[in-house]
Amino acid sequence: MLSISFGGLLRRPEAGAALGLVAVLIFFAIFGGVTFLKPGGMASWLNVAANLGVIAIPLGLLMIAGELDISVGAMVPFGAMTVAVISGHYGLSIWLGVAVALSFGVIVGLVNGFLIIKTAVPSLIVTLGSLFAVQGIVLGLTVLITKSTSVALATEGPAKAIFGDFVMGGQLQVMVLWWMGLTALYIFFVHFSPFGNWIFAMGGDKVSARNAGIPTDRLTMILFVLSSTSAAFVGMCQAILYNSAQVAGGQSFIFNSIIAVVVGGVLLTGGFGSVVGIFFGTVTFAIVTQGIYYTDFDRNWSSLIIGVLLLGAVLMNNTFRHMALAYTPKKGGK
C-alpha cells in the first residue's frame, strides 16, 4: 500500500518546507561556502532554531486547529523574568523559580483558552490583548519589585545543566536537545496517536468535529496551555543560560514563529500541516537569519530573503495542496 513516489512526497504538507530548505542550503553554500554546515557554524543556527522551534510547534498545532496565539511574545520575557526575580532577586531555590515560571505559562494559556471558548472572539484579538496585558505585568511588576528592568540570575548544578547550559564542546545550547526530544514527542502525538486526528478535524470544521464527539473546548484549552507554557519555558531557559533576564525582547518570537509555521506548510485557516513541516520551516528560518553572517552580504538583507521565502513558500504550499486535493489514483489505461 505504502508506495513512495515523487508525486506522493509533493502532496505531503511538508513538501514546500523541504524544498525551501534545500533551496536555502544551496543558496548559502554558493554564497557563503560550507562553513555554516561545519560544527561551529551549525551550532549558531541550531541554537536559533531550537529556541524558535520549541515555540513554533505548539503554535503550529494551534494554527492547524484554526487558532492563533501571539501572546507567546510576552510569555518569553515573562518566563525569563519570573525565574530571575524568584531565584535571582529573592535568591530562592531555582526549582521554585522554574515551577512558578511554568505555572504562569499554564495560567496564561488557561485564561487565553477560556476567553476564546467562552466569548468566541477571534483568538488573534484575545491573544493580542493578553500579549499587551502580560507585557504590562512583566514591566510593572519587575520595576516595582527590583527597581530595574534587568535582573541577574546565577544558577549552578543540575538546573543549569538541564535548562541552560552548553553541551558538546560548549557551543550547542541544551535547548537543542529539548527541541529534538519535543519534536519527536509531537510527531508521535500529532501523526501517530489518535489525538492528532482531533486537532486536524477541529481545524477543518469545528462544528462537525464537535458533533463527532471530539471535546473541542478541552482541546482548545490544552493547545493554548501548550503554546504559552512552551514560550515561558524558552524564556526561563534563556534566563538561566545567559544569567540574566530583561523585561523587553521576545516580540520577535511572534512573527518568527508564525513565519516558521507557515513556511512549514501549515494552512493559516487550519486543518492542514505537519510537525515535520514546521521543523523544516524553523530550520530554514534559522539558516537564513544566521547563514547571512557567512556570506559577504550585509546582514540587513536577511529580512528581504525571509520575506521572499515566506511568500514563495505560501504560493508553493498552495500549489502542493491543490495537487493533493485533485489527486485521484490512476487506473491502468483509462
Binding site: M1, S193, P194, A201, G271, Y327
Partner: protein
C-alpha cells in the same frame, strides 16, 4: 404496526417571543423515507435541530420506539441512533477519507501509551463502507475528502453514519448543491439506506428528488405541518404547487393565518 422509531407529538418551539414551530406531529418509521418539504423560513432547520437534540422543544413530546424521551443534547440523539448529515457532508476537506471517517473514534493498534492510529484498517473500513453503498469510484482511503465530488462526500457522510449504527438518518438538503448526476447518486444511496431498514428524514426543496425516494411527505408552512400525505396521494403538480407558493399555497397560508388568529395561535390540523 410497530411504534415509529422517532415521533414528535405536538411539538412547539419558540425563541423568546417568536414562535417558530406550532404543534408539529410527525412519525418516522424504519424502512421509510419521510420527505420534509417547505420554503426557506418554514422552520425546517429548527425542526431538524429538535430531532437531532441541538434545540429543545418548548412543549410537546419526542418519542423514540414509542417511549417518550427527551433529546437533551446532540450526544443523546447520537446514542439513540439519530444521525444528521448536513448539506456539505460535514466532512473535513483536507483530511484523508480514512481519517475523516473515523474522527473521534480512531482505530488504534499497539499497546499502552504507544497506541498508534491504524491507518490501513481505517482506510480499508472506510473504503469498504462507501463501496457497499455503490460508490465504486472511491478506492483509496488516503485521498483527501476535498478531492471528492459533492455527491461522493454526501455518500461518504451517509456511509459513515450508517457504519456507526445510525437508525434514523436526517439528511439536510443533501441534493441542494449538486448537479443532476450527483444528486442521482445521493438518491440511490437514500434508497439503499431505506432498503437496509433505516428511517430517513429527507429535507429538500426539489419535488423531483422527494418524489423519487419519499414514502411519506410533510409540507411545512410557517412552522406548521400544512399537509401530511403518503406516496401516491398527491400528484407532482399538487406538491410543487404546495411548495412553490402557487395558488393553493397562498390560500393555505391565508387559511392558516386566519385559523391561528381565531384559535388562540393553534394551527389547523394538517390536510390529508
Amino acid at each position: 404496526m410497530s411504534a415509529p422509531i422517532l415521533a414528535l407529538r405536538g411539538v412547539n418551539k419558540s425563541f423568546g417571543p417568536i414562535d417558530v414551530l406550532h404543534d408539529i406531529t410527525l412519525e418516522v418509521r424504519a424502512g421509510q423515507v419521510l420527505c420534509l418539504l417547505g420554503d426557506n423560513g418554514a422552520g425546517k432547520s429548527t425542526l431538524i435541530k429538535i430531532m437531532s437534540g441541538v434545540h429543545q422543544p418548548s412543549s410537546g413530546v419526542i418519542e423514540i420506539d414509542g417511549v417518550a424521551v427527551g433529546l437533551p443534547a446532540p450526544r443523546a440523539a447520537a446514542e439513540n441512533g439519530i444521525a444528521t448529515v448536513h448539506q456539505f457532508g460535514g466532512t473535513f476537506p483536507l483530511m484523508s477519507i480514512g481519517r475523516s471517517f473515523f474522527v473521534g473514534v480512531e482505530p488504534t493498534k499497539g499497546w499502552g501509551p504507544f497506541k498508534v492510529y491504524d491507518r490501513k484498517r481505517a482506510n480499508d473500513i472506510a473504503v469498504k463502507a462507501v463501496r457497499d453503498f455503490g460508490i465504486t469510484r472511491i478506492d483509496d482511503g488516503d485521498r483527501l475528502v476535498g478531492g471528492l465530488s459533492g455527491g461522493e462526500r454526501q455518500s461518504l457522510a451517509i456511509a459513515r453514519a450508517v457504519h456507526f449504527g445510525a437508525r434514523v438518518l436526517i439528511l439536510d438538503e443533501p441534493t441542494a448543491a449538486l448537479g443532476v448526476k450527483q444528486a442521482t447518486h445521493v438518491l440511490r444511496i437514500v434508497n439503499e439506506a431505506k432498503k437496509r431498514g433505516l428511517a430517513v428524514v429527507f429535507i429538500t426543496h426539489q419535488v423531483m428528488h422527494a418524489m423519487a425516494v419519499g414514502d411519506h411527505f410533510a409540507v411545512l408552512i410557517r412552522g406548521a405541518v400544512a399537509a401530511d400525505f403518503h406516496k401516491g396521494e398527491k400528484s407532482r403538480e399538487e406538491i410543487t404547487d404546495l411548495m412553490a407558493g402557487g395558488a393553493s399555497m397562498a390560500s393555505l397560508e391565508a387559511e392558516i393565518e386566519g385559523y391561528m388568529a381565531s384559535h388562540d395561535g393553534h394551527p389547523p390540523p394538517p390536510a390529508h
